[in-house]
């Protein structure tokens, strides 16, 4: 457990020393969302109708942008060779990096989401569902995206490959995440959607660190 804490602390320290990575994802999210009122016109009804979907898609793409670098630094500077030879499960280290990605990239996205929802004139009834769905859905993005990032290590144009690989797998998160907001706006209970998102998160947290660790080992050969 001390190794997990040390790995997490190292990632967070690196994120604080070099804040560009996380800031770039949030900037992308904000800019992409801001373009929609210009693109589809300032009609409030239309914007409010598409707000949940726009925010989810923008968050997903922003996370993809940052996931590309998740394992690349440690792969290129040789840290992964040493970590793979440390007497502890590599999945532990990989899991710490995924958690750090969620803390440094997804939490700022979750914080920015209600602000951007105001811009898109989302009905006040949808805010709780939106933020709750984001909080439950974004860890799945970090976990599944981490597997993709590990699989594309060593590949040229890995970022493109990562999106092709991972985005189809994250469609359920998108459907239930946006669905939760729609349900809330229609006056239905959002419990079902949130529980499905939670279930996807739990399944991903059980499988993804091991899959990503195996992919990293493969990349080191």
């Amino acid at each position: 457990m001390t190794a997990f804490a040390a790995a997490l602390g190292r990632e967070l320290r690196l994120a604080i020393r070099e804040p560009g990575e996380a800031a770039a994802a949030v900037m992308f999210f904000v800019l992409a969302t801001m373009l929609f009122p210009f693109g589809v016109g300032p009609e409030a009804n239309l914007l409010a109708r598409i707000a949940a979907g726009v925010l989810w898609v923008a968050a997903l793409l922003a996370a993809m942008l940052s996931l590309e670098r998740l394992f690349l630094g440690d792969y290129e500077d040789g840290s992964f060779e040493i970590l793979a030879l440390a007497p502890l499960p590599l999945s532990l280290i990989v899991g710490a990096k995924m958690l750090a990605h969620w803390l440094t990239t997804c939490i700022p996205l979750i914080v920015a989401t209600p602000l951007m929802a105001v811009l898109l004139d989302l009905d006040t009834g949808g805010y709780f569902a939106l933020v709750a769905a984001m909080a439950l859905g974004t860890p799945t993005i970090s976990l599944v995206g981490g597997v993709g990032a590990a699989l594309t290590l060593g590949a040229r144009r890995g970022g493109m490959l990562l999106s092709v690989l991972v985005l189809p797998l994250l469609i359920p998160v998108l459907i239930f995440g946006a669905g939760a907001v729609d349900a809330a706006l229609a006056g239905h209970a959002v419990r079902q959607q949130l529980m499905v998102l939670a279930a996807m998160f739990l399944a991903a947290s059980a499988l993804c660190p091991w899959a990503a660790a195996a992919a990293v080992r493969q990349a080191l050969e």
């Binding site: 690196l14 020393r17 040493i82 793979a84 440390a86 502890l88 080191l220």
Partner: protein, 245 residues
């Protein structure tokens, strides 16, 4: 000393083929014939469809140094990575005290330190933060101060690694092997970029390690100041120089 339960054995055969004829050495019989501590049999390596070496054997005992020599591309780094377990051999097997290292990867990882070509240094972290992390991932990781002093970088402890020279970064990478104990060191050209003082520190560290009963495999292109070292020339096993296919 390392808790290996094996007596020192400096008299074991020189590095050569520990083929089937010598297979009794692979069995752990401490009374009559102490097992060769670390050995490989009939190893072959293929990189990118090209056979790098084949039919390679090595044997190493407690307190011994094995130096790997050979021209660029002869497979020194690949052999070290195979010994570390990063790269599974295409054929053959590597054994530690009679047990194949592929059977328990974590146990093998716990007994070795590997220093590759890459320094594994995070530029945004300070020297001390870098080293403290590598100490934390080993269960017996100790205080970093003696390791920093051993490689002459204690004055740089609070400096971000971004400002280190190539040689200082190399010293930091080498200090990693001094923060925790491991009976087997695998060093890939450890003296690259080092000045004479740094090279002397590496030699002293290796000699000290062996005096305590450790084993060490070093790949090198520069002559090492280690008179007792056994040598393994990879050109004899290479595909371009009449090695077995």
């Amino acid at each position: 000393m390392f808790p290996t339960g094996q007596p020192w054995n400096k008299s074991a055969g020189a590095v050569s083929r520990v083929g089937p004829a010598n297979a009794r050495f692979a069995v752990n019989r401490p009374d009559t014939h102490p097992a060769i501590r670390f050995s490989g049999r009939a190893l072959a390596c293929v990189r990118g469809d090209r056979a790098v070496f084949s039919g390679l054997d090595f044997a190493l005992d407690a307190g011994e140094v094995l130096t790997l020599t050979g021209p660029n591309g002869s497979g020194k780094s690949s052999l070290l990575r195979t010994m570390a377990g990063l790269l599974p051999p295409v054929s053959g097997a590597i054994e530690w005290e009679g047990a194949n290292i592929a059977e328990d990867r974590e146990a093998h990882a716990a007994r070795l330190h590997y220093v590759g070509h890459l320094d594994a240094v995070k530029l945004a972290l300070t020297v001390a933060e870098n080293l403290r992390f590598w100490s934390a991932v080993r269960p017996d990781g100790g205080d970093i101060q003696p390791a920093l002093e051993q490689f002459g970088i204690s004055a740089l402890a609070d400096l971000p690694a971004r400002f280190l020279s190539a040689g200082q970064r190399r010293r930091l990478a080498l200090a990693r092997i001094a923060v925790s104990k491991a009976p087997l060191w695998l060093l890939d050209e450890p003296t690259v970029a080092l000045d004479s003082e740094g090279i002397a520190a590496v030699h002293a560290a290796i000699r000290n390690h062996c005096a305590e009963g450790g084993s060490c495999v070093v790949s090198t292109n520069a002559p090492l100041d280690l008179p007792d070292a056994k040598g393994l020339d990879l050109v004899r096993h290479g595909m371009g120089a009449g090695g077995r296919a």
